[in-house]
Symmetry: C2
Subunit: 308 residues, 2 copies
């Protein structure tokens, strides 16, 4: 059993999809990552910031899921980061309607003392300098650092982004972002170029088409579970990352074979996340349901061809 | 070992991709299906039509690959079906530049006497009435009929298409076509609607994202092998279908578990097809190369999670 540090936003989201819309609900990368990682019986701590408007019940919700919230700073005179967006009919693209950084604008993450020797660090999508400052606080070199990022930082802070990419073992990135970062259309070539930037493992997320794990000349492909409907994709990528990092922290094994399993756990948890608005499905997800869906993933992908 | 009837075009193609362009080269659905099926040591016959301009060496090429060409009618006074197209930079879409039906316009397929009791019939993309006329000639009900089709027939001959769909066991169709045929965006829902039209098995081809096999509530997902570059996608779908049908004919087993393997063989063979222009790669493909790539597919998809 290992320790996991989760850095990312804890936020309010307001979401519109073809199925309906929400008021301000609980959101944020660290929230989704934490709820996913809570399935692995590990010591996990969230490092984030919220405002005085953030309800105690949401902090309690994270604590109830065994996420240490002592690293979530509450700035009483400030407001919590707020994002709102509207998904298009195909659910694969969305428009951002509002981004209010609020307390996030001055976020200086502080890793709790107990977690400065954590084995696994999950850097959720944030400014690359904020992500770097977390690694600077670790007193022991983590066994694995996972970085999530997005195209926004490629446009606005590329040099800082390249600096943090150098320092991590795993990067999770979507297909379009991998292409933007490398200027390569082929994901195989893009993954190789990202390897050269630093990370030994490259996870390329393809949404409804699943995820690819690259490590030197090895590739693993985890499909997404084909679903009747995707209700709300918000947080699916973070849930994937949380399942991935949580599984590694639990198993304490960073071999390629074990990372395949981590990708499958990430995909499995993400397949639940999209079934309801926001974090609703992840708040009420039993280990038994996860177990059943892992079996579905096996049936979905495993075959028996006799090869001499 | 079973018999396989392959119905489809034998054609000239002229192809333009970002990597170059060809003159008139050997193409056609039955050609690609036949070359793929030739890897299974079965009795296979192509049923098609060509003109007097079709070189004997191309017929010999098919014969050399153990494809019975007695069902390929040669209309000496006519010309062979010709298609030319240009692929866009992403290789996922293309423009048709020329379609000259020529002898295909009056094609009346005749199944060779020896093949009227074939266990497997592969109906390549053609007018649905032409596909139907092949089934009408079978003296024994085939164990499995596989239908390939395209959006063109949905636009121009929907009623005839629905009639042939009713008569087949397996349909192979791409994702956009499945959506068009059913009016459903979700491929899970689309597959269910296509089941209701007749076929017990629905294969949805997603190009670089692989293929899904649906059978009632069962789903299987075969990824496409991630490739550094796709040189020419022409014939990949037909090669997939040929590998699928050839494997079924060889194994004589139409269970869902065995069809998973058929999908993997189809994906494996298709992954070679796109490596060179036209049929070039398929003409020079050894069993050993296929075997090695099947191992790659295993490594790409298989994982070991202990589930209680």
């Amino acid at each position: 059993m290992g320790k996991l540090v989760i850095v990312g936003t804890v936020a309010f989201d307001a979401i519109e999809t073809p199925f309906g819309k929400t008021d301000k609900i609980l959101g944020g990368a660290a929230t989704y990552i934490g709820l996913a990682a809570s399935h692995f019986n590990i010591d996990a701590a969230a490092v984030s910031v919220v405002g005085g408007d953030f309800p105690q019940k949401y902090l309690d919700l994270l604590s109830d899921n065994k996420i240490d919230v002592s690293g979530i700073e509450v700035v009483n005179e400030g407001k919590t980061f707020f994002w709102s967006g509207r998904y298009h009919n195909d659910m694969n693209s969305r428009d951002t309607l509002t981004t209010e950084l609020n307390t996030l604008a001055d976020f200086k993450p502080v890793v709790p003392e107990d977690y400065k020797d954590a084995e696994v660090v999950m850097l959720g999508n944030l400014h690359p300098l904020v992500q770097s400052s977390v690694l600077d606080q670790m007193t022991k070199k983590p066994k694995m650092v996972v970085l999530d990022t997005m195209n926004f930082w490629m446009d606005c802070a590329l040099e800082d982004l390249l600096n943090i990419i150098k320092r991590v073992n795993v990067i999770t990135i979507n297909d379009e972002e991998a292409r933007q970062l490398t200027g390569e259309y082929s994901l195989v070539v893009a993954a190789r170029k990202i390897h050269e930037m630093g990370p030994q493992y490259v996870v390329i997320k393809k949404g409804e088409h699943g995820a690819l794990l690259f490590h030197n000349d090895h590739v693993f492909y985890a499909p997404a579970l084909p679903l009747e409907e995707v209700f709300d994709p918000t947080g699916a990528g973070d849930t994937f990352a949380g399942g991935f990092a949580g599984y590694i922290a639990k198993t304490d094994d960073v071999s390629f074979e074990n990372m395949k399993n981590a990708v499958i756990y990430g995909s499995t948890l993400a397949s639940f996340c999209v079934e309801k608005f926001g974090t609703e499905r992840m708040q009420n997800l039993s280990h038994d349901e996860v177990h059943k869906r892992l079996l579905q993933f096996k049936q979905l992908t495993q075959f028996e061809i006799e090869l001499g």
